[in-house]
Symmetry: C2
Subunit: 345 residues, 2 copies
Amino acid sequence: MAHRATLTQVAQRAGVSIASASRALNGLVASPATVDKVRRAADDLGYVPDASARALKMGATGQITFAVDDIGNPVYVEMMTGVQEVVAASGFRLQVTATGGTRDVADVVDLLRSMRRGYADGLVLSPLRVTPELVAEIAATPIPVVVIGRLPDGAAVDTVMTDSARGVALAVEHLHAQGRRRIAFLNGPGDTTPGAARRRGFDDAVAHLDVAATTHEAADFTMAAGREAAHLILTTRGPGSTPTPDAIVAANDLLAIGALHAAHDLGLDVPGELAVTGVDDTSLTEIVHPSLTSVSLDSRRRGQLAAELLTRRIEDPTRAPQVLSVPPLLHVRGSSATTPQAGNR
Amino acid sequence: MAHRATLTQVAQRAGVSIASASRALNGLVASPATVDKVRRAADDLGYVPDASARALKMGATGQITFAVDDIGNPVYVEMMTGVQEVVAASGFRLQVTATGGTRDVADVVDLLRSMRRGYADGLVLSPLRVTPELVAEIAATPIPVVVIGRLPDGAAVDTVMTDSARGVALAVEHLHAQGRRRIAFLNGPGDTTPGAARRRGFDDAVAHLDVAATTHEAADFTMAAGREAAHLILTTRGPGSTPTPDAIVAANDLLAIGALHAAHDLGLDVPGELAVTGVDDTSLTEIVHPSLTSVSLDSRRRGQLAAELLTRRIEDPTRAPQVLSVPPLLHVRGSSATTPQAGNR
DNA sequence: CTGAAAGCGCTAACAG
DNA sequence: CTGTTAGCGCTTTCAG
């Protein structure tokens, strides 16, 4: 800890007015001699301009906030990487806020409300659940907001989406092509935006295919919830005697890894007896064994695009809101690589 | 996006002076009638105080920054959780900055320098490498800084450390007790603070034991680097005909998981032919198979303690710097559960 | 090219 | 209890 020098002190030391000091430091009109004196004085004093004062005067902070729901999910780390790349290139500082999980929408709304205090010049948001309250709060936020996800039609907000329904369909079609005919969908909470979209993608995909399909919901998008739900899927034999599935399509990688564990607990061979696929194509796909087939939603790219929309809107707040989309892409790995083992079940 | 109301507007609408409005809103002396009028006016206008103005006036921002080197490592997520718990309870906002990896020390120094602008009231820092330059920069930072890690003796900085050398020793002793006698140490870069400490712990531990020990360095603390280095460890037969190890002690979980992969690539049974241990006891230990034995350094607790030191110092900047320590604890899991398979090698 | 002065939005004396 | 006033540190007219 040390003390902080102010512009007044720099000006005094340089023997010029505070206005000249400011101009010299900011590269505005000033004689070379003045610039030199001021620079020297600033260095001597270790002067650094005060962020609050500058923000108050300029009406801009030079900061951008990225708010994530669950920083434990690697998807958000990847998104953040993308955001950071663009934001840094535009001369902004990035700060990340975790809307830490428990209270969910309430947390995000609190955050939005606090953003009204002017902590940052812009906000990138990737909400799990979208309520009318949230949409209203976004509209009431005095700084530009870009959403990674999906908002109701007509919301005049810059958005980066992806077709995750199509992504899930890709996984289903792949499994079907491999010969899987009893496919279970392991979803997260259906009242979330991704949960709803992915469910729709699954339903649509199986509708065209000759497969026995079931759908299930885990309590949340975590590995533990996935393991528990998958255990049920793999052990419960309903009254209508649902057949045990030969494939599980999970709504994200965390759930899929939970399913991998459940399969292992039950002594099932993956992919021989059971194929498993995830969504998000996170780094976790490569750390499990067998490696996990997953649908990439290119989170990093989405982060980049979101940041680009944001910086552009900060420059020109009047431009029309834009909706960008990133296509899903299936990455086949070990967990679904082979055709089902003959004679299983 | 919407507009922002100012205190002056609220005061006007309520028909009182701006001072009364401020007092009413901040719960200072004010008649009930005034409070009521002002509250109503504020609500109507959607008034929220401006953070920059308040910070400028008060000389405090109400924010705390947590700076991490590699947000891709789950350790930091856990630390952050701990920091967040305490910081939120004290009424601060937490913002996370990733000093994004590539330029390393330079990044952290840049960050420290930018902190001088007064973005936050305090900073929690967990640096991978500690240089004299970094120490100097910390001393020159005008706001309280708490370091999670280890600083040179005599640095008058609040610090939360852990005995990671002892932690590595715990792993070595455990493996020895299980009957392992050819133990390889898979370290990260030796010029990092954790790298140096863990190396020391390994050397000390094997000195007392009847084991054939070798040490190796991966390029960084990542899974990919660990896999590569472990592959070498497991395949290279030196001129002095080093025996293939029956255990690998890795300096963190990421490296350990890399080693697990290398073992799998080579068709080695874990833990039968090779035991593997990690350090940090992250959530990743439970997602790999076999699950990973790891030394917990209680990252979350360290985060909590760091945040407590920080808030305490913000309250009272004159208190003597304190150094806290968290003991390591070994968590035995599948990757080292059994005695070595008879007759291997 | 430079200095004096105004003011961003807010809080905290200080008198009433 | 309330209003007036003085700044926090900085940028930016506006005259010289």
